[in-house]
Symmetry: C2
Subunit: 302 residues, 2 copies
């Protein structure tokens, strides 16, 4: 089943202890679509400027990502510049230039409005709400966010969260939005707003899912070397939602295996800068790591 994503397409400048890249392909919707495209057709809604390199568009088209919803606006593409130190869990922002993103309003082509699976990547919650007004009876809507919106648009964000089925956040965001140092307490407060599922991203500790009646744990794939963690969270969400859309029904079992697939996809993304590793990734490589992760299972009684 098809999957709609609304988010950013960006040009990133990233420095880590392992190298530096300038104006490379980035953005939440880019990582998400590329990851999800291994599982299902993806329809993308975003905006780029006149300066956006066409070979990046060609790459997305080759991945069968539908770009009918990608606006090309006058001006420069959204840019993010940041760096990581040896603690690769924390991104330090050097510069954010909204550029064409500053006046962006998502407009869904008619053919997008019946998409059964919808992902609202990390953008202004008011824009996330604009998307929700344009979709018709989706089977599952998921939402990601970030500390900036929690701190500056809490009311809009609370409204958006109350209208979706699945929330994807990292640990710190759950604690901050849920208002408790206890992750589980904070998680219960978020579920209290309406969503059925909360997936908490924990970086190299994997991911957990909390629902009103179940708790699930997906391990991360352990890597000796991480070169650039940019896009790991969006890739995770892309693997999770892509897998769900392929399954067709968002059952608990599908969500659980989806988290494993999301973790595996993210483990590839962080092996290199930008989307370089995803560009050469194959389905069989994904399958091999999924099988490996299954072998980490501790639940066999003696």
């Amino acid at each position: 089943m098809s999957l709609l994503v609304v988010g950013s397409v960006a040009l990133d400048t990233v420095e880590t202890p392992f190298g530096k890249v300038e104006d490379c392909l980035g953005g939440s919707a880019t990582y998400f679509s590329t990851a999800a495209s291994f599982y299902t057709p993806v329809k993308l809604v975003a905006v780029v400027g006149q300066d956006f390199p066409t070979h990046h568009l060609e790459f997305l088209k080759e991945r069968q990502v539908d770009l009918a919803g990608l606006q090309v606006a006058d001006g420069r593409t959204f840019r993010w510049s940041g760096y990581y130190e040896y603690d690769l869990n924390t991104a330090h922002t050097r510069d954010t230039q909204l550029n064409v993103f500053a006046s962006f309003h998502p407009a869904l082509p008619e053919g997008y409005r019946d998409c059964p699976f919808v992902f609202l990547a990390n953008i202004d919650p008011d824009l996330q709400m604009e998307v929700l007004k344009q979709v018709r009876r989706p089977r599952l809507v998921a939402l990601d966010t970030m500390n900036y919106w929690i701190e500056n648009k809490r009311e809009s964000l609370t409204g958006a969260i109350s209208m979706v089925d699945l929330v994807v956040m990292n640990e710190a965001e759950v604690r901050e939005f849920g208002g408790s140092p206890s992750l589980i307490k904070a998680a219960r407060r978020i579920l209290g707003l309406g969503p059925q599922f909360l997936v908490i991203k924990k970086g190299e500790d994997g991911a957990v899912m909390v629902t009103p009646s179940a708790y699930s744990v997906a391990p991360a794939y352990p890597l000796e070397e991480v070169r650039d963690p940019t896009g790991a969270g969006d890739t995770f969400a892309g693997g999770l939602m892509g897998y769900l859309a392929r399954c067709g029904e968002p059952t608990l079992a599908a969500l659980r295996m989806g988290m494993v697939h999301g973790s595996v996809l993210a483990s590839f993304t962080v092996e290199d800068f930008s989307l370089e590793r995803l560009k050469t990734l194959t389905r069989s490589q994904i399958g091999e790591r999924v099988e490996e992760v299954k072998s980490f299972n501790c639940f066999e009684e003696e």
Copy 2:
């Protein structure tokens, strides 16, 4: 099969955002023995002073912990005083009084020397070596340590690690001793010294085990409230080693399920101060949580 532990028996003064206790029962060997006693008979080697309250000894005896190896020396019992802030992962030490521990040398009663399972809790690695010289052909020897020994007795510690089968450390200790920000790289270096198994404690993110050929992940049991994390790591080790000793053979499957049992035991310890929660714990309560943790399993394909 019986299980020998050498470590500390202490009187702790602990403050957390949820309360304070003074001179309560503590010490690595105490938490370890109590946890392990749910699975197997435990023989304890440690030292206390003349001031050690006899009702604590009675408690350990009731738990079938063999105290023949517990020395009662002239002087005061080892005391630790510390506090935790809302980030309960980090213990802040206010005061450490070694007292009778300063001149402690472990002396194994003859009946202890053939114990098949041996745990060297966090003490001076020179004392851990003294124990290794007194045991005869154990089936599995495990060792715990802390940053103090890594920084001040690295050579002795390296020697001790090279002589054991299983190392139990927390994440920060693995990175510090293994000398890499990459947990997996650091883990491989530790395994390179000789041990077959490295179990890495990750607090509320559970535990992972790294061996030369396998990787395993045990989730933590999620709690809404943690009152006092003191002793969680020693309790985890006690559950793990107790389970292994009950199984009799340290197979990979036994180690994996042992990690789950260790996590579950630790989840009880942190619910209250000192060993209060372990005092009222029953085997069926342990079994219920183990079953719950098994239900967190993400590895069912659609």
